[in-house]
Symmetry: C2
Subunit: 312 residues, 2 copies
């Protein structure tokens, strides 16, 4: 099982789906970035996972669809509609169909499973919850919604605090806790996603952190930071703004009690990691599909060793 | 002022907008074809009018947008969504934006006026009502919604009865009755639209028929039938199925009391028309923009003569 946010996490999830039997892989997706836009239910991380796992993703951007067209957005702009969040013509089908099915009473988990299956995804993409959880950020100018911060404001505001609104009342997605507790589960992989924006919301859903603490399977995290910088996105900047140690070591400390192993880039091999944590060095930049597979194998190898240590 | 349905009516409305000061032209649009599709508020006749008057319309189909792409539909098909009603990528912007604004509490009249203005339409496109009116048809297999009949079943079922559901509770759009009663109104033009499916719903909104009966301005109808056949659509077939006289004369009789003049194609000049009706022969097929302008001028000339007869 993997826990993942968007682009970076999805790349490792893709690697895992290629080195494992994908039908035995479940990827828990952050839904803290979900929002209603233009009246449509948009689930950015779920879709990035689905597109990446299906091979539909745009290889340059890392999100959205390859060979996408933007005629809807151009027409919307002429009509005076909101165009700061870009929805491609084909991508739009996901949002319209999801919105329609949710309005008809289906659960996000079921809709996601069906849409992923139709796009040929063999792995299970599991939203963390069917209930709304909304990541919000406090900046100097006040609280703002995630997409306002992330897309409209390009992560520029200085973040003073985070909240996962609704998390306290959310239930884990159907089957999620059962999958975590499955005696046959080989490993739990924290993908190289933002610990605050992508993994944090998942851990905030009551029951998930507890199940991870009580895990039987070994858990491994892959660092989203290399040499103190994020490959993409505001991870390092935000960690610094919140007074955290913005290094691979800081990420590992943040997952204390939840992981048995940690995969860091060789550049970060000499940092001070928590005592007792098995640290495995492997190139953490995923430029090619081969990189994804190698990093996936490294994460699984680290988890396997940690698992033998735990049971030994 | 013109009363219009979709393609055929929109062509004459376009002609009127070119031979008159378009800022003084109001076109009342049938909304009996409106429906919610994929969760979106779709107003086919309103949009056909807006696209035709703005020059955005696809010249071959007569509806939808020129240079349209269909990537949304292709993606939706892969997701197992409903694709029997085709929505182009750019066209979709109208439905998404209208749906969003209606959900935010705006009225259809205001949303339509703004979207039309943004596309450069100088004439006023006025939905017949802000309240839902839904044309339904009774076939041998039972009652069906308009789009099921019109698009999905391609007008094949034999129609036994029609209803305009909700019309009894609908109010005319804001400003519509005032515009009809305006002492400065030159003419009321019934566009060559289906009298049952396009003009019928407009007349079914309480207050509109009464205002037309009490009109001060002369009213003229342009025949949608030429030689007993519709240029497009099921007008003649449906009139026959309902036991009506499926000719230009039958249409004119159907508008008894509501019109002062009637424009028929020269092919239909010798039919028996209602006594006292001023019948004007003019080529009713509109293949070119010039045809639209000529037919618009003919309709206005007939109305002007009828107006002089009325006041004389």
């Amino acid at each position: 099982m993997a826990l993942s946010g968007g682009v970076g996490g999805a790349k490792l999830a893709h690697g895992l789906s290629r080195v494992l039997d994908p039908s035995r892989l479940a990827v828990v997706a952050n839904t803290g970035d979900d929002f209603t836009h233009l009246g449509l239910a948009v689930s950015p991380d779920v879709d990035t996972l689905v597109y990446t796992l299906s091979g539909e993703v745009d290889p340059e951007r890392g999100w959205g669809r390859r060979d996408e067209t933007w005629h809807f957005m151009e027409a919307l702009e002429r009509l005076g509609g909101e165009t700061w969040f870009r929805l491609g013509d084909a991508d739009l089908a996901m949002h319209v169909e999801r919105t329609r099915r949710l309005a008809a009473g289906e659960r996000l988990t079921a809709v996601t499973a069906d849409l992923a299956r139709r796009l040929g995804v063999a792995a299970r993409v599991l939203p963390m919850s069917d209930d709304p959880v909304r990541t919000r950020l406090q900046a100097d100018e006040g609280w703002m919604d995630f997409q306002d911060y992330f897309v409209r404001r390009r992560c520029e505001p200085r973040v003073r605090a985070l909240e996962y609104a609704g998390a306290g009342l959310a239930a884990p997605a159907p089957g999620l806790l059962e999958a975590l507790r499955d005696p046959g589960l080989r490993a739990i992989v924290f993908c190289p996603s933002n610990p605050l924006l992508s993994i944090g919301p998942i851990l905030a859903v009551p029951g998930i952190r507890e199940a991870l603490v009580a895990r039987r399977a070994p858990a491994v995290a892959v660092s989203p930071l290399i040499g103190g910088a994020a490959v993409r996105g505001p991870t390092a900047k935000m960690m610094r703004e919140l007074g955290l140690d913005a290094t691979a070591s800081g990420v590992a400390h943040g997952y204390a009690g939840l992981i048995d192993a940690f995969v860091a880039d060789p550049a970060d091999a000499d940092l001070a990691y928590p005592r007792g944590l098995l640290v495995h060095a492997a190139p953490a930049l995923m430029a090619t599909t081969g990189d994804r597979e190698r990093l996936a194998r490294a994460a699984l190898a680290a988890a396997d060793i940690a698992g033998r240590n735990r049971s030994g």
